[in-house]
Each structure stands twice: as C-alpha cells, then as structure tokens.
C-alpha cells in the first residue's frame, strides 16, 4: 500500500513539475508547482520525515509560493508579453544537458553502495553495504519528528542554525534595498 502510494505521489509530482515548466502563463506554472510540492510532501510522509513534510507545505507551498504569486500578479503581464516569452530558448542545449544528467545520475544511482570505511577497532576494511537495502532501520529514535529534528538542530547544529538567522537578515536587507527606488 505504501509502495503504491509512493508511485502515485511520485508520478503526480513529476507530472506537475513537467506541466509547471511547460506552461505559458507564470500563474499556471506556480499553481502546478504547488501540486508538485504537495506530492513531494506526501512522499516525505511515506518516508517518515514528518517534520520535513510539514515544513515543505508551510514554507514552500505556503510562504514561497505566495511570494511568487504576489510578484507575478504585481508585474501583471499582458497576454502579448506572455506570448513573446513562450518560445523556448536553446531547447537542444537544455534537453541534451538534462539527458546527460539523467544518464550519468542513473548510472551512479544504479551502482551505488555505501562504503562504511575501516573498522574503528581493528582498522580492517569492511565490505561495502548496499545503499538501498531492503531492510531499513525503524524506531522512534530515527523518525523525523519535530522532537528528534529539533534535538539535532539545537544540539549538534546550533551554530549553523544561528548563522541561518544572519543569512535571513541579509536576505531581508537585500530584498528591501533592491526593490527601493531611492535609498534616502
């Protein structure tokens, strides 16, 4: 059941991404992108990444897409403008780059394994484990709940979390200064 749901939501996300990239109107693109965000959020739920799934809906489908739609409607592009930007630019380059990426990445994923490194006690090399095992670890300790993620963020990654606040402050200042006509 979970496996079938994964394929359903995965196909939804992929189809929505394709539609978002090919739509002429930016508003339609943005709406299809919201569908893709929800499809991915459902897949995060299936992978027991609850916190990431909720943040995906709140931040991406909520905040970021509202910002996008706000700017799209602020610019208020006419139909003739949309027509003029509808034709693809360098289609061959894009498709070839994407195909090369798919082939290279597909080979990498197909032959992937996880090298555990030398044994800490004996120093002997250990055999590489399959990166995508049939059996995965489960349990309340490694579920992506807010409690577990929060413990990691405010423990091991506290410095990165604090630096993030500086990044957001810089982004706020940058956005305000860029959109102001005059700085006085």
């Amino acid at each position: 059941m979970t496996t079938a749901l994964f394929y359903v939501f995965g196909a939804t996300a992929l189809a929505a991404a394709l539609l978002a990239v090919t739509r002429k109107n930016a508003v339609a693109s943005a709406i299809w992108l919201i569908v893709m965000f929800f499809g991915l959020a459902a897949n995060y739920v299936l992978m027991e990444a609850w916190f990431v799934a909720v943040v995906q809906v709140l931040v991406y489908a909520g905040a970021i897409m509202v910002l996008f739609l706000f700017v799209i409607m602020l610019l208020d592009l006419r139909t003739e403008v949309l027509e003029s930007t509808a034709a693809p630019r360098l289609p061959a380059v894009g498709v070839i780059a994407a195909l090369l990426f798919l082939v290279g990445g597909g080979i990498a994923v197909h032959s992937a394994s996880l090298d555990p490194g030398p044994d800490p006690q004996t120093g002997e090399a250990r055999q590489a484990a399959a990166l995508f095992p049939d059996e995965v670890a489960t349990g309340p300790e490694i579920e992506g709940t807010a409690e577990n993620i929060g413990g990691e963020i405010f423990g091991k990654w506290i410095l990165a979390f604090e630096v993030t606040s500086v990044l957001l402050l810089g982004a706020i200042l940058g956005a305000v200064i860029l959109t102001k006509r005059r700085l006085t």
Partner: protein
C-alpha cells in the same frame, strides 16, 4: 550510527532507489526549465524544482542510512531557498522596473544607457547638485527640504505605491 544500532529493522515501505530516480528526473525537468525558458519568473520556479529534488534525495539518503542529519540539512536548504526566493524576486522586480520586461535575454547587459521612463536606483547625493540649477522656491531652507524635491524622474504615483 548509534541511532541505527538502537533501532530495529523492517522492510522498507518506500522503494528508496526509485525515490532517488524520481529526484533525478525532477532535477532534469528543472534543468530544462532553467536553460530553455525565457520568462525569468518560470526560470526561478524551475530553480525551486531543482532544490526540491535535492531535498528529496537528502530525505531518501536519511531514510536509507537511518541518520537524521539529512533531514536537518533539508531544513537548512529550505531556509536558504526562502532567502534565495526573496532576493531573486526583488531582482526580478528591479530588472522589470529597468527594462519593462521579464525576458531574461533583455537583461543580458550589466549597463544600459536608456533607462526608459523610470529612473534607476539612486544613492543619496547623486541628484542634489543636478537639481540645484532648477532653483526651487525653498532653496535656502536646508538640505532636507531640498532632498524632498529632488526626485524628478519618479512620479508621485510610483512613490505612493512604494511606501
């Protein structure tokens, strides 16, 4: 790895390798969007698709190895994506104000002589001496009143909309 030892194992409900193939496909779609689309807004949307595919790959690896660090990294990636969107859309608005266009090929030059009907971003002091010659009534009232009259190319409606 300590976490992994504490937990029990069970068959993976989600085919993790296929999840990574899905991430690859999504990234390729985003790549096509970034290279092929002309509308700068859809280019930014395609960048979001690529960021999301990377997030999916991180969550997949987190699930495969039983390690939460991947999901913490997704959290940070989302914060960076939010900052990127805010600055990116501010640049889109600034470019649109300058060129009256969302076609990225119209923004392929760093400098352009003709700024169109709207003035570019002006720093303090640039306009002062330029407008001194026009001779306002309140010429002797000091710097602040003079500055209030300085922006000639910006219409009053634009100012009201901004503030």
């Amino acid at each position: 790895m300590n976490l992994l030892l504490a937990a029990t194992t069970a068959p993976s409900p989600v085919p993790l390798q296929h999840a990574l193939y899905l991430a690859l496909a999504l990234f390729a779609v985003g790549l096509v969007g970034v290279t092929c689309r002309r509308n700068i807004l859809i280019v930014l949307l395609s960048v979001e698709i690529m960021l999301n595919s990377a997030n999916l790959a991180l969550v997949t690896f987190s699930r495969a190895t039983g390690n939460l660090d991947g999901q913490v990294f997704v959290f940070f990636a989302m914060v960076v994506a939010a900052a990127e969107v805010a600055v990116g859309l501010a640049i889109v608005i600034a470019v649109y104000r300058l060129r009256q266009s969302t076609d990225i090929d119209d923004a392929d030059e760093l400098a352009e002589v003709d700024y169109g009907p709207v003035a570019p971003l002006a720093l303090e002091g640039e306009d002062h001496h330029h407008h001194d010659d026009h001779g306002h009534d309140d010429h002797g009232h000091g710097e602040d009143t003079e500055a209030a009259h300085a922006p000639a190319p910006v219409s009053a409606a634009d100012d009201a909309g901004e503030e």
